[in-house]
Amino acid sequence: MNTEAFLLSLRLSATVAVLLQLFALPLAYALAFVKWRGKFLVESVVALPLVLPPTVLGLYALLAMAPRGPLGKLWQSLFGHPLAFTFAGLVIASFFYSLPFAVQPVVASFEALDRRLLDASAVLGASRMRTFFRVILPLAWPGVLTALVLSFAHTLGEFGVVLMVGGNLPGITRTVSIDIYDRVQSLDYAGAQQTALLLLLVCFVVLSIVYGVNRRVWSPWPAR
């Protein structure tokens, strides 16, 4: 089994899940509580990775990150090295790939909150910030946890996007799913199975935790 690939995948997934949540919380707040025009456009963009083949997303990410692509150029001027086929590039591409899994559970849990609790907080003199940290977040935490875990698990299992923008550089961009693919290509079925089984177990445990904690928030299963 390739421990290096496995650790790389864990590091990638954890980084992406945390970054995504930092981005998803304010976005979910804006989607759930603020009225604005064009909200539906943002909602569509967030949901796009759910329906788009990973190769399509990966292709556009690759074009953007290429040395002459807009993102690649910006990165080169900021950090002095290209973005494509690096770990950072992988993080950026995975960020978009797992976006819906980070945003939708949080929006759902925010929207399920009793609005009168937010009204009560405001009337009692709390700022929006205080209301967010003292009322919204503590009551919506199952949704936030679900989002964290789902985006982690989803990034762990990605293949197409990584293949497009990451290539296959050991220790840098060779994630566990790429590793499995490689082994099958080179007829190392035993090695592929070992890694696959471990990945299967990790994903199963992670999802069990989420649905064990709650299943009301964004889930393909009906409410208990």
Binding site: D119, V123, S127
Partner: protein
């Protein structure tokens, strides 16, 4: 503030329009002043009572108008001023109470005191907790409280902030009368020392009598009447209000003749030959009016009564008898259809049964002309 006995005046003059999704739009159009002390907001559901409170609290924004507390501007549509809810320094107890379910009772009560030093927070909580008899509940979560306890905690959380206005949206619904009276007593004692405007929304006629120094009735987004409860609610002048105020019989009537010498007029009910005498009102002979009569103000007799002061004695037939707890609702068909409330004992001793011939006895002054 406690001790100072501020005598504040809240003035409201606002309009807000809600598009009705195909139905007629609802328009809240209210002009009213609220002095310190209790004002009961009374009216049928959908009259705009909660929306009015939301506008005063700053949770909904009126389309136009002004809201002032004395000289301080809460809202001024023309000048584009709308103070955020947290700067209005008022308290609002919602119908749902909206206690924070993840915080203990004590944390709930201290929630609005974040700006104060912790020692001062605890001092204030202690005072209020004693006044509202909730000392033994402080470490519990709202989910572990009974209905009455929750209502006390919600009131304490509101009052501990020393608000300048208190908005109460049916805060005591669902409580039995004795518990309700006890909490109302606590509230009254509190305001004896604080003297702020308290707007108290209720559907319950008993609460109006228990609480109300002043009542303002709303129907269909507009102020109908304003005054002391007895004057306003015992002689309602609109159909919606009559129904909300507990007048079970609101009958269509046509004025037959005026008898100014007796201060009465005769009306025929529901296009039938059935005529009754009601107090003289502003309605020309021939015009269509409505007459409101409480079900409890009608007497029943099994034989034609004589030698009575009551002027209206109508023969009829019992259509149905329905027990509703401590009273029995009897529907009687004369020319019109009347609902009569009697006690279960009366039903037994008179041996009332459907189909039976019966006489209704109604005093002239139990009949109220409504619009």
């Amino acid at each position: 503030m406690a001790g100072e006995m501020s005598r504040a005046m809240l003035s409201v003059e606002i309009r807000k329009r809600f598009s009705g999704n195909g139905a007629a739009p609802f328009i809240l159009d209210v002009r009213a002043s609220f002095a310190s002390g209790f004002t009961v907001l009374f009216g049928p559901s959908g009259a705009g009572k909660s929306t009015l409170l939301d506008c005063i609290a700053g949770l909904q924004r009126p389309d136009e108008g002004e809201i002032h507390l004395d000289k301080e501007v809460f809202f001024d549509g023309a000048r584009g001023i709308s103070l955020s809810p947290r700067r209005r320094e008022l308290a609002y107890v919602f119908q749902s109470l909206a206690l924070f379910p993840h915080l203990s009772v004590e944390e709930n009560i201290r929630y609005g005191l974040a700006k104060l030093a912790v020692a001062e927070q605890y001092r204030r909580v202690e005072n209020l907790v004693a006044a509202f008899h909730i000392g033994n509940l402080l470490q519990r979560r709202p989910g572990e409280l009974s209905g009455g306890e929750k209502q006390r905690v919600a009131l304490a959380r509101a009052l501990v902030t020393r608000p300048r206005i208190l908005l109460l949206d049916e805060p005591l619904t669902g409580l039995d009368a004795s518990l309700r009276r006890a909490i109302q007593g606590d509230l009254r004692a509190w305001n004896a020392a604080n003297g702020i405007p308290i707007l108290y929304v209720t559907h319950n006629r008993e609460e109006v009598d228990a609480i109300g120094e002043h009542v303002l009735t709303l129907a269909d987004g507009r102020v109908q009447e304003s005054g002391v409860p007895r004057a306003v609610l015992d002689a309602p002048r609109s159909v919606e209000l009559a129904q909300a105020a507990g007048f079970e019989n609101v009958l269509l009537a046509k004025v037959v003749e005026h008898r100014p010498a007796d201060g009465v007029m005769r009306v025929s009910l529901e296009n039938s030959a059935c005529e009754i005498e009601i107090p003289l009102g502003e309605a020309a002979p021939g015009s269509e009016v409505r007459v409101a009569i409480r079900a409890g103000d009608i007497l029943l007799a099994t034989e034609a009564p004589h030698y009575l002061s009551a002027r209206n004695v109508l023969p009829g037939t019992i259509e149905s008898i329905e027990a509703r707890g401590v009273l029995v609702a009897i529907r009687v068909r004369t020319g019109a259809s009347f609902l009569v409330h009697v006690t279960p004992g009366a039903v037994r001793s008179l041996e009332l049964a459907p189909g039976q011939l019966i006489w209704l006895v109604i005093k002239t002054h139990s009949c109220h002309l409504v619009r």
